[in-house]
């Protein structure tokens, strides 16, 4: 079959996978408004534990039965229904603390008018019984993406920008207004940190100030999005999501010298603005893509990011953990569905069956780890091979002598390595590759890594004479090094086992039923619940099928999840506040229409991330100030802080704090990518070696992701430990010293100019009069040699200041 034919066959099959709308509009209404409201506001007093007034509201039967004082609803007759009058605070006042939002009360009225529809699956909390109901399918996140009409402009501030119109109409309904636009210097600092993760340089500030073109903002946004540092900054969020780390994570926590190539792939993919589905597919199944793009292969480093250690005797259990974790992360990152609960049982709250979990895992069943591939293209590989042939020709005798010498020692080490494993693992290892199943091969791989990485190689056990011979031979071999080709760039990647695949089984399933790859039941057409797997040029095609399904325009989860992530990074909180959980335990979208509109816009641009950034960054909603004259009263109107009437004040991330200090001192190197560096290197925080077993660096103190689990929102802690590190720690003190030196190097003798320069570098603006006078007073009147220390301290204060640490 050729590649084209496969694609067609696959597309035909996938068309039927998207469920037709099953639920009635009444049931959707129930799912969208009534179920969550009952759970959130009513069940505490009228549920299974408490029934105040003898009333239960957790099933249709219970609601219809009413309470001590009779029925509470009459389907079809809202005006007769006491539930509604209580919600309106007419007579009874429910919920007692605060009335519901008027739109929600309206939704109850509509619901009763519709006849109080309640999906056939009665209880409010899911019964896990191995099946999916219509009400499960009616959950908001599983609905097809709509393109709602953009609301009319209701206030002059909402302008013509679609985002502002949607946000403005919600605010208008509440009698609220957005904050005014932030000052140019605030906006400049904000947009720099938001897009490239670094502060604007004094030159950039001046250039922006001097620019009087009407389109200076859009030009700036475009310029920043085209800046390669955009990919550096945004890769950090992606690396948090996929739990990237530079180390293995068990006791040895061994450094992974080549994994940075995956990190650099992410940076390049973002800078090249790859359509998101392509980005997804390269990571999940780049090895199976047609052609031989080393970039796509490098992307499969995604399948290598989990925790691992060679020195594990229980190889089977270790691999099982690795596969489960790969499954969990994939659900989290791409689908925004927390799958892990379903590993042991059907999900308690979401329609994720245990079978669904293992269907997802089954896509990964054939994965084998590859350490023998390189990031070279065909041409480079050919050149390498021809040069290598020369070297091999010249060294054939020496190498065969060496081989002969080492053979018995290697054999001994193999023997002692393999013997450490349980018998079944030994058996897998001893099978010839042709006779192995995928599991055999995976086990054999783990055994081989033990051989390769365990210390005390064959040389240690060598006799004196053999050691001498070995030395002589290697010296002779080295003489030919000038012929040896330069090693091709090594990568940590994965591909599929080409032989028979071991079945995916649910642990302790007495029937040992093989679980085939398949998508979430709740998203599948009940008539055609499984995926057709394409047959690619190499590999099983399973992961390709998964990637194509995840990146399909009709997948309701994928585009919503990524749009929400982008929004979150620009506003400090997503439209869905729980970005890795779009299920029942997560939050619902604060602006459902805007969310759908944005998602549909995103798909219409071909999943263009930079277009989405651009749209957001040119809205007044994003550009508004973090200060609002009505802040105090608005906070009571919007207790959840979700209506977007002001921007949020955000603390910089650990990397941003570190990078901003290095930028201010002028130390920051501008090299993009490359191997990870030691903490002391003046590179961006992104490039500092991250070890999974460490948690005690400055970056960690400021809430680094850690690389152990998918992190979709970093914690934001405020601790005395941070204060101690900032005010006493060597690193920050040294940066203050460097800043002082670099200021003095400007050979400015006027203290006022020094203060202005320092504040511009740290706060991205000119000092106000009182700040200037306080600073000058602190520095003293002249800059004699003694007060260099004073200048250093002044710089140190700036690094510790809230204006430096926060973005507004």
């Amino acid at each position: 079959m050729n590649g084209r034919g496969i694609g067609l066959a696959f597309l035909l099959a996938v068309t039927s996978l998207w469920q037709s709308k099953g639920a009635s509009s009444g049931e959707r209404h129930f799912e969208q408004f009534i179920r969550p409201a009952l759970i959130e506001h009513c069940l505490e007093c009228h549920g299974s534990t408490k029934q105040k007034g003898g009333l239960r509201l957790d099933s249709r039967a219970a609601i219809m039965a009413g309470g001590e004082s009779g029925p509470v609803i009459f389907p079809g007759a809202p005006s007769e229904s006491r539930l509604l009058s209580a919600l309106r605070y007419q007579g009874l006042e429910m919920p007692p603390d605060d009335p519901l939002d008027p739109t929600l009360i309206q939704a109850f009225e509509t619901w009763i008018t519709l006849g109080a529809p309640w999906p056939e699956q009665d209880p409010l909390v899911r019964d896990g019984h191995g099946s999916i109901s219509e009400s499960d399918r009616a959950w908001w996140a599983f609905q097809g993406i709509q393109t709602p009409a953009i609301p009319p402009g209701l206030s002059p501030r909402s302008g013509n920008h679609p985002i502002d119109r949607f946000v403005g109409s919600r605010l208008h309904a509440k009698g609220m207004e957005a904050a005014p636009e932030a000052s140019p210097s605030t906006l400049l600092r904000r947009v720099y940190f938001d897009v490239i993760g670094l502060p604007p340089s004094p030159e950039a500030i001046r250039a922006f100030d001097d620019n009087r073109r009407p389109d200076r903002w859009t030009r700036l946004v475009d310029r920043l999005l085209a800046d390669p540092r955009y990919g550096e900054h945004w890769s950090r969020h992606w690396l948090d999501l996929v739990r990237y780390s530079d180390s293995d994570g068990w006791n040895q926590d061994a450094f992974r010298p080549h994994i940075w190539r995956y990190r650099d792939y992410v940076i390049r993919a973002l800078n090249e603005n790859k359509p998101y589905p392509k980005f997804v597919r390269e990571q999940l199944a780049g090895d199976e893509m047609p052609g031989s793009d080393p970039e796509a292969l490098t992307a499969t480093g995604y399948l290598r990011l989990g925790i691992y250690e060679y020195n594990q005797r229980d190889a089977r259990g270790h691999w099982n953990d690795i596969m489960n974790e790969m499954t969990d992360v994939t659900g989290d990152v791409f689908l925004g569905m927390s799958m892990a609960c379903a590993r042991c049982h059907d999900h308690k709250f979401d329609p994720v069956l245990q079978k669904d979990y293992f269907r997802l895992r089954s896509f990964f069943e054939p994965v084998i780890w590859r350490d023998d591939l390189t990031a070279a293209n065909e041409e480079e590989k050919a050149a390498y091979r021809s040069q290598e042939a020369n070297w091999e020709g010249a060294t054939a005798t020496i190498r065969s002598d060496l081989e002969e010498l080492l053979k018995p020692y290697y054999e001994k080490k193999w023997l002692s390595t393999v013997e450490k494993f349980p018998l079944d693992i030994q058996a897998s290892f001893h099978k010839p590759v042709a006779d192995r199943t995928s599991l055999d091969h995976q086990m054999a791989y783990l055994v081989s890594r033990q051989f390769l990485e365990e210390g005390g190689g064959p040389l240690k056990a060598m006799s004196k004479e053999d050691q001498a011979r070995h030395e002589a031979l290697t010296a002779r071999l080295a003489a030919f090094d000038y012929l040896k080709p330069k090693a091709l760039p090594p990568i940590m990647v994965a591909s599929d086992f080409e032989g028979p695949l071991s079945p995916t089984l649910i642990p302790e399933d007495p029937n040992r039923e093989e679980i085939r790859p398949g998508i979430l039941s709740v998203l599948a057409d009940p008539q055609h619940p499984s995926l057709l797997i394409p047959v690619p040029e190499r590999g099983s095609g399973r992961r390709t099928a998964l990637a194509l399904w995840i990146g399909d325009d009709r997948n309701p989860l994928t585009p919503r999840v990524i749009v929400n992530r982008v929004w979150q990074q620009h506003f400090g909180q997503g439209l869905v506040a729980t970005p890795n959980d779009f299920g029942h335990n997560g939050q619902r979208p604060s602006h459902p229409e805007l969310f759908d509109w944005l998602t549909s816009y995103f798909i219409s641009t071909g999943w263009d991330l930079k277009a989405l950034h651009r749209l957001i960054l040119t809205s007044q909603t994003w550009k508004q100030s973090a200060r609002h004259p009505q802040a105090q009263s608005y906070q009571t109107l919007d207790p959840k802080d979700e209506l977007l009437w002001r921007q949020r004040v955000r603390r910089l991330t650990g990397e941003q704090i570190r990078d901003a200090m290095l930028a201010a001192t002028g130390e920051l190197t501008d090299r993009i990518g490359g191997p990870s560096q030691d903490e002391s290197a003046p590179c961006r925080g992104l490039y500092v070696k991250q070890f999974r077993n460490r948690n005690d660096t400055l970056l960690h103190a400021f809430d680094l992701g850690g690389g152990l689990k998918s992190v979709a929102v970093r914690n934001t802690t405020t601790t005395p430990t941070q204060a101690l590190l900032m005010i006493n720690g060597d690193y920050v003190l040294a940066r203050a010293g460097r800043l002082a030196l670099s200021l003095l190097a400007q050979s400015v003798s006027d203290p006022e100019r020094l203060v202005r320069l320092a504040i511009r570098r740290c706060w991205g603006r000119e000092p106000e009069a009182h700040e200037l006078s306080a600073s000058l007073e602190y520095l003293g009147s002249s800059l004699d040699p003694l007060s260099k220390e004073r200048l250093e301290d002044f710089c140190h204060v700036l690094f510790n200041s809230n204006e430096f640490l926060y973005l507004d």
Binding site: N251, N715, T718, N800, N802
Partner: protein, 473 residues
């Protein structure tokens, strides 16, 4: 996460989310009550689920896996069958080092019954043995971690794979802090070594970093990293800097009303400075009498290092530190694959008098009843020999003992088989041990939850049981 006012008490999601994500560090309670005063916002106080027996925990972690067979779980049959292979009636275990068919190794100990309870202890712990009436020995522990990394990880976090919060972090999350000027969860390693897995052992997993343990270097001038400014920075210089900083920050906060996080950061600097004053006093053991120091074995070469840490642990819990973990044999020193006699006799000596001193000191100060002392490693050791004169890891049956904190002393819980290989009666998994430690602190392991990615995470992974035999009267 900007403002406390946004988290009205009725809005449980946001409030919970705030407390979880913003997770103010030690001193959090003080900070919250401060902001509560200023904003009128009522902070939920961490509360226990049932009456607490213990207020503090001192966990004596014998890293590497001490041999239960040579300390508290005598097996006469082992000595009788010494030199023979494991009888076929025993299921063949997976061993870490994979040595197959190794003969049984005798435990040439002198066993004595102690106290009124008559609990057995070997000659390797003569001083602790005097406290057997205060000690409950759990002989039926088991774990999944077969190697050090998995075992130590599991003993700290309930699971052998990295990523979950440690027990100390859960306790801090559940009970908050009792001293705003000191960390609530402290770790001290002997010999300044690095334990297996490193700081991950006291990490906070998916919870905010403010719940993680803080390592204290008790023997150094700066017990907490960056506690002090460099020497050439005089106090006056530091004070002047701080004053300018607060001046800038106050102004900035005024311009951003309704942004309490800014206020909180200002306070965090004040707390940091209070800590600078408090922490050195807390770890200054020169304030202890000569007699007390003697009690802990200070002044003797072999015992002074761990004795010092035990004494520090007492000083810390006295000052409201809730959870102190002391590593003995940091870096898998108890791991005795060969030469167990030499290894264990030496290590037992380093810990025996210090621990006995700690128990006695706690008792005479009336602190033992509210302080739970836990002793144990990540697993035990096999009855089979390894390399002739050592023992391999035994995760399937081993002993841990507890004292104080409401624990009924002088009792044995559970049993291993006749050779001490498998736990066979009243088996307690690590999850049960954690559930019991939490239970003694008044926390129900199933009610203590932390919402993470839509999942109510529990400290013991939805399993584990508080073994109330520990507190039976």
């Amino acid at each position: 996460m900007n403002d406390f006012l946004e988290f009205a008490p009725s809005d449980s999601f946001s409030r919970r989310a705030f407390l979880q994500r913003a997770g103010f560090g030690f001193g959090s309670i003080a900070l919250l009550s401060l902001l509560q005063r200023e904003s009128g916002w009522a902070a939920p106080r961490p509360t226990s689920h049932f009456p607490a027996k213990a207020k503090n925990v001192i966990w004596l972690f014998m890293e590497g896996g001490p041999s239960h067979l040579d300390l508290v779980d005598p097996k006469p049959l082992l000595n009788r069958l010494a030199g023979q292979p494991l009888p076929p009636s025993f299921k063949e275990p997976i061993t870490a080092m994979g040595e197959k068919g190794a003969p049984l190794l005798p435990a040439p100990r002198t066993w004595t019954r102690h106290g009124q309870s008559g609990l057995w202890a070997s000659e390797w712990m003569p001083n602790i043995a005097r406290h057997m009436d205060d000690i409950a020995v759990i002989r039926s522990c088991w774990t999944n971690g077969i190697n050090h990394s998995g075992g130590v990880c599991q003993m700290n976090t309930c699971i052998n794979v990295a990523g979950r919060p440690s027990l100390g972090a859960w306790v801090h999350y559940g009970l908050g802090s009792a001293n705003q000027n000191l960390p609530s969860f402290v770790v001290i390693c002997d010999s300044n070594g690095r334990p297996v897995n490193g700081p991950r052992n006291w990490g906070s997993g998916f919870m905010p970093a403010s719940h993680q343990g803080v390592r204290i270097h008790g023997a150094e001038a700066e017990p907490i990293r960056s506690l002090h400014a460099p020497e050439h920075h005089s106090e006056a210089r530091q004070a002047e800097k701080l004053s300018l900083l607060q001046r800038f920050n106050r102004k900035h906060a005024l311009e951003h009303p309704q942004q309490s996080e800014l206020e909180a950061r200002i306070r965090s600097y004040e707390l940091a400075f209070r800590m600078q004053a408090t922490a050195p006093e807390a770890v200054d053991i020169s304030r202890e009498t000569e007699a007390t120091q003697q009690l802990y074995g200070l002044g003797q070469k072999e015992t002074s290092s761990f004795g010092r840490n035990c004494l520090l642990a007492r000083r810390l819990i006295e000052r409201g530190v809730r959870f102190v973990q002391l590593y003995n044999g940091t870096g898998s020193k108890w791991d005795s694959h060969s030469g167990i006699e030499k290894n264990h006799s030496r290590l037992c000596h380093t810990m025996d008098q210090p621990i006995a001193g700690l128990l006695q000191d706690l008792k005479q100060r009336g602190l033992l009843k509210e302080t739970l002392v836990v002793w144990g490693g990540e697993f035990g050791r096999t009855p089979m020999s390894e390399k002739g004169d050592g023992r391999d890891h035994n995760p399937t049956g081993f002993s841990i003992w507890m004292a104080g904190g409401g624990v009924q002393g002088g009792q044995v819980i559970g049993r291993t088989d006749e050779l001490g290989l498998y736990a066979v009666e009243d088996r307690m998994h690590v999850r049960d041990l954690h559930a019991s430690i939490l239970g003694l602190l008044g926390l129900d392991n199933m009610s203590l939850t932390y919402d993470h990615k839509g999942r109510p995470e529990r400290p013991t992974l939805n399993e584990g049981r508080f073994n109330r035999q520990l507190i039976r009267a």
